[in-house]
Symmetry: C2
Subunit: 139 residues, 2 copies
DNA sequence: TCGCTATACTTGAGCCGTCAACAATGTAGC
DNA sequence: GCTACATTGTTGACGGCTCAAGTATAGCGA
């Protein structure tokens, strides 16, 4: 598990330098893109990417500033604000996905065989909060 | 891998609330305690716990303020400053280790069998930067 | 011995995330 | 319809880490 710190940092750095996106930014875009209507309540987003609500507020500030995500209000509940993926956001995600996905693939495939990857996935899956999400990195 | 974020956070929170130590604080103390003379150059410490040199400077500020670590200079090289574990630091480590180790043990043993743990350890070991260090958490 | 480059460490600025407190809205029970 | 509680989201203060730049020392080759 200790390796995770440096590994995550590595993927993050790659993403930041090549596309100006944080790993968390990337995941937000990814989750939104998969959603019906490309939108998600901030609360749900927080839960998915394991951030606090305030973390989400801060993160979305950046994505909104870049025009990748917009705010949208909810007709049936005035408390909620949706995070709505824009076309630019979608495009950005696709662009970033190319290098990110291949980076991850290289990393794991260089180290483990197919069978080992499956075994590893099976075990790690049992940890809380959907660890599989990292191998399945999108688009 | 995604689970790691919340899991680490959990162990960290446990350590902070019960002993006032960060996970990184803990690891610094642990590494120092195992070292010949209970001291380590800051550079080496940085490498071991995967932090930048400035990160180490900041982290040690806190431990020095608490009296768990002291600065010591090197006779043969005026550039280096050692981080030197004090007796209080050693005591603190032992104290914190009790709950921390059992927390980790519970977490993994509740989820995996002995054989699975070994398989997992064997695979994760191949990742860079000594991932085994986390199961082997000390003292 | 001089000058160059490498190494050890610190510092200032800034990012990213947390927590605690708060405002606004929703909902359930009476 | 009121009251009480729960849920959604934002904000201020702050912690922990990074990066870039700077200081000081070391060590090497001409």
């Amino acid at each position: 598990m200790r390796a995770h710190a440096s590994t995550t940092r590595r993927f993050n750095a790659e993403l930041v330098s090549e596309h100006g996106l944080t790993l968390n930014d990337y995941e937000v875009l990814l989750h939104l893109s998969r959603e019906e209507g490309r939108r998600l309540r901030r609360v749900d987003l927080a839960e998915r990417i394991l951030l606090t609500p305030s973390g989400i507020t801060r993160l979305l500030e950046g994505l909104e500033r870049c025009g990748y995500v917009e705010r949208a209000s909810c007709a049936s509940d005035a408390r909620v604000t949706y995070a709505q993926l824009t076309d630019e956001g979608e495009a950005k995600l696709r662009e970033a996905a190319r290098t990110h996905v291949s980076g991850i693939r290289d990393f794991f495939q260089g180290r483990f065989s197919k069978e080992e990857l499956e075994a590893l996935g099976g075990l790690l899956e049992r940890l809380p909060a959907d660890p599989a999400g990292d191998l399945d990195c999108g688009v």
